[in-house]
């Protein structure tokens, strides 16, 4: 599949930028949707755009360690303050979407297949 930058996802899907502005050139080549952190750890491919509603520091740690390209918080889920500063510090882009998880993932998938 083709690669797109997190910046493209942000702009073309109409998401908002919640954290990690310095890492928007990171590339993604798939979508992965899940909220349970150990599933994400075990199954999310490296360089995937990870769609979830988990906006806590543990999610940031998982993104760093499992090498996902970005986190997309669906359902307008909040990124807590500690998670935001951790994401900025570790260079993890976090985007926000008002739509449900599936719809959010589908928007990114369409971009990947474009």
């Amino acid at each position: 599949m083709k690669k797109i930058t997190v910046r493209q996802i942000l702009e073309e899907c109409g998401f908002s930028l919640l954290a990690g502005a310095g890492a928007l050139d990171r590339q993604a080549d798939r979508v992965f949707c899940c909220d349970l952190l150990s599933f994400v750890m075990g199954r999310a491919p490296a360089d995937s755009a990870w769609v979830t509603v988990m906006g806590n520091v543990n999610a940031i740690a998982v993104a760093v360690l499992a090498d996902t390209a970005c986190i997309v918080l669906a359902e307008g889920a909040a990124l807590d303050e500690e998670a935001r500063s951790r994401a900025d510090g570790q260079g993890v882009p976090v985007l926000g979407s008002a739509q449900p998880i599936f719809d959010t993932g589908l928007l990114i998938q369409r971009l990947l297949e474009d």
């Binding site: 909220d35 952190l37 150990s38 750890m41 740690a61 499992a66």
Partner: protein, 148 residues
């Protein structure tokens, strides 16, 4: 490089927000050492699952990592309640995680299976009321090559 580089971490038991610091720090070191990205990722995933288990289930513990030219070895030791039935704990989906950590996204019962999946060797020693020691090794060359 022929020598072994060793690192020690004390993992606090009460702090979910700091959990993952040891694993993140080792990940940085491995990048500097110049290991292949997939090897680094295997170590990072396995160590994080062990680190978070210490915090959630055992009140913290100690991690020692030895980085040798041919392998990365992690020893995670805690003085927690121990694991009564290790083969049950190794099963996907089995978890005793309390509700408050489930709401944070933990408790899928996938941590130990992930540790097994992402390492080349894994050993658990545990005694109820005494503690648990998990030893994991990731070979520094790709497993595909190792198998052939």
């Amino acid at each position: 490089m022929s020598q072994v580089i060793s690192f020690h971490y004390d993992v606090p038991g009460d702090d979910f927000t700091r959990a993952g610091e040891a694993s993140s720090s080792i990940k940085k070191v491995l990048k500097q050492v110049g290991l292949a990205p997939d090897i680094i990722r295997n170590v990072a995933i396995a160590m994080y699952e062990g680190e978070i288990n210490m915090v959630i289930h055992a009140g913290g513990g100690q991690i020692d990592v030895d980085i040798a030219p041919d392998e990365i070895r992690m020893v995670l030791k805690d003085q927690g309640p121990g694991i009564k039935d290790i083969s049950l704990a190794m099963q996907e989906g089995w978890s005793t995680a309390p509700d408050e950590v489930r709401s944070l996204g933990f408790g899928a019962g996938m941590g130990l299976p992930n540790m097994k999946k992402y390492t080349d060797e894994m050993d658990i020693e545990s005694a109820v009321g005494v503690g648990t020691t998990v030893t994991m090794t990731v070979f520094a060359h790709p497993r595909e090559e190792a198998a052939s």
